[in-house]
């Protein structure tokens, strides 16, 4: 496979075009500072959703603790960039946060990934709660008050770079042999194991990768909103991410992207109805599950729609 294939060039052009259009909209103030926050939320949520999709959608391991990994990335990045306030410190902080989250992911993943289905969901939920309680009680994280005055080194450019890196890396991972192994675990774990797939290894790998990118999202969050406290990363945050993934379709990266954008737009729109905002959100959640339980795109990608049916099955 050539690096400069026609497909890759088109993808690259599209990416540059999206970046340029949004950048222009920001500089001519059509996207004002209020909408810029929505934009940042979208980017961070897409990173979270795509990384959770790798764990839940592609590998089939039901996690309700994504916010826990996000908080690790956020705190590590915040602490590092508060001590070294520079772009270099910021990048180092984000990567350190992501690596820390991935390490915790491996440590937690090895024992808990033996569990299945609901039990795994509850175990990951419990793990995220433990992480939150630890941050609430630690000296260095300033307890319930949280950290404030984190230097803001993030802007649209950085958000977009990390967003694209996440999508491309996870997309390539899924298309690699490792990714195929992960998908085989989702389809049938016992069959995969009998075919020689080391299921534990791949589950932990997917979990750690998911945690890594959740850590990046956390770092970006800390840097963009310059204030974090443990309660931001509670059960609700994990549910929010899971809702994006399920709404977009388990096993569809483009679905996660679209769902993250839709939900962020919806939340921004609903902000004027604070009282009934959560009621509408909850009703939508139930209604979508009742009428379209497979999510918007199911397991398909948006690019599949431009291909004929024959090509969809072909492994490129």
């Amino acid at each position: 496979m050539r690096v400069l294939s026609k497909k890759n060039i088109i993808t690259l052009l599209l990416i540059v075009a999206v970046f340029a259009v949004v950048q222009v909209l920001i500089s001519v103030k059509i996207i004002n500072s209020f909408y810029e926050i929505t934009l940042a939320t979208i980017c961070i949520n897409i990173i979270l959703a795509v990384s959770l999709n790798l764990v839940t959608g592609f590998t089939g391991q039901f996690s309700l603790g994504h916010a826990g990994f996000m908080s690790i990335g956020a705190y590590v990045c915040a602490l590092i960039s508060m001590n070294t306030d520079s772009t270099l410190g910021f990048i180092f902080g984000i990567l350190a946060g992501a690596v820390a989250a991935a390490i915790v992911g491996v440590i937690i993943g090895i024992p808990t990934l033996r569990l299945k289905g609901d039990y795994l969901a509850i175990a990951t939920l419990g793990m995220a709660e433990i992480i939150r309680v630890l941050f609430l009680n630690m000296e260095i994280t300033n307890g319930a008050a949280g950290l404030s005055g984190i230097p803001r080194n993030t802007n649209w450019t950085w958000l977009f770079i990390f967003l694209m890196a996440t999508i491309i890396l996870i997309n390539n991972f899924i298309r690699s042999s490792h990714g195929r192994a992960c998908i085989s675990i989702r389809e049938d774990e016992i069959a995969a194991e009998s075919m020689g797939v080391n299921t534990t290894k791949y589950k932990v790998m997917a979990f750690a990768l998911g945690a890594f990118f959740a850590g990046i999202a956390g770092g970006l969050y800390a840097s963009y909103f310059y204030f974090i406290k443990p309660n931001v990363f509670g059960f609700m945050k994990s549910v929010d991410v899971l809702v994006i993934v399920v709404l977009g379709g388990l096993g569809s990266i483009s679905g996660s992207v679209i769902a993250a954008i839709l939900l962020a737009v919806l939340t921004t729109f609903l902000q004027q109805f604070t009282e009934i905002r959560m009621i509408i959100y909850a009703l939508l959640l139930v209604a979508i599950m009742l009428f379209r339980p497979q999510g918007l795109l199911g397991t398909k990608e948006i690019t599949d729609m431009f291909k004929s049916n024959k090509n969809t099955e072909k492994i490129e």
Partner: protein
């Protein structure tokens, strides 16, 4: 030693409330394999109904408890019919998301109607207390434990001696076979939700009296902890839920009493993870072999 006994008394009171909520989780999970996240919110609504009955209607403890249980049972049936029944054959994750959605819906609809502020329960039970040695036991704790025990005995009777109880056990063992034997599966599932929700409603009233404060988001944490209790005892097992509830209540009180109360939630979840890893079926659960 006295302090330990005192902590045990407090722990048993809290634990019996957890046990009441855990019973609903375990019965619903046993019958349709769903973690009913909305269960903690049924408990919250039970607490509010008890609050309304005692504050506005000036009823006593027992009438308020019974009204709260009946209303919670009706709510449980309604939730099952509206949200879970249409999804009986869809994927697990879809049902789970629906349950989370229902949970949010109940919380925020309540918040819309009653406001987010914390309310304090009226004194419906005397707070007289008496001493056993140096251990203080108050009347409320006795009421809570006795009510919980009576409800559990009634539950045991319903499940083991009545026809509908037999149907519940049959459906939870094998839904399809039960249907073939002429058991009305839908009615049985509704009944399970009704009983589980009634127990949660009772738990809500008891918590309101014990802690003297209720708010629309009070159901989240106890709901999750009651689920931990159900898993701890062995999900699907009714005596397991009782033992699990009591154990979690006692352990939580001991951590608050001797250690740092800030860590008590983390401790409960740590127990959950440990139990899931060592004995995933729980203390009284049966290990099931996976068939290919």
């Amino acid at each position: 030693m006295e302090q330990f006994l005192q902590q045990m008394v407090n722990g048993i009171s809290l634990g019996s409330i957890y046990a009441l909520i855990a019973l609903g989780y375990t019965m619903v999970y046993g019958i349709i394999k769903l973690i009913n996240f909305a269960h903690g919110d049924v408990y919250m609504i039970g607490a509010y109904i008890g609050f309304a009955a005692t504050t506005f209607a000036k009823l006593g403890f027992f009438p308020a408890l019974i009204i709260a249980m009946l209303a919670s049972a009706a709510l449980g049936i309604l939730i099952e019919k509206v949200a879970y029944k249409p999804l009986r054959n869809s994927t697990k994750i879809a049902v789970l998301i629906t349950a989370i959605g229902m949970s949010f819906l109940l919380e925020y609809v309540m918040m819309f109607f009653v406001g987010a502020e914390v309310r304090s329960y009226p004194k419906v039970l005397s707070d007289a207390s008496f001493n056993l040695g140096n251990v203080v036991i108050n009347m409320q704790q006795i009421y809570i434990v006795v009510t919980a025990i009576v409800l559990m005995i009634i539950l045991q009777y319903i499940i083991n001696k009545t026809k509908i109880g037999k149907a519940m056990r049959a459906v939870s063992a094998d839904k399809d076979a039960a249907q073939l034997m002429g058991i009305q599966v839908d009615t049985t599932i509704s009944f399970t939700f009704a009983i589980g929700s009634a127990l949660a409603g009772a738990g809500g009233v008891l918590v309101g009296i014990y802690y003297n404060s209720i708010d629309p988001l009070m159901g989240m944490m106890p709901g999750l902890k009651a689920f931990v209790a159900a898993v701890f005892g062995g999900i699907g097992s009714i005596p397991g839920a009782m033992i699990g509830g009591l154990s979690i209540g006692i352990m939580e009180t001991l951590v608050s009493g001797y250690g740092n109360s800030m860590y008590r939630d983390a401790f409960v979840f740590a127990i959950l993870i440990v139990i899931l890893i060592i004995k995933p079926a729980g203390i009284l659960g049966k290990n099931t072999k996976e068939k290919v």
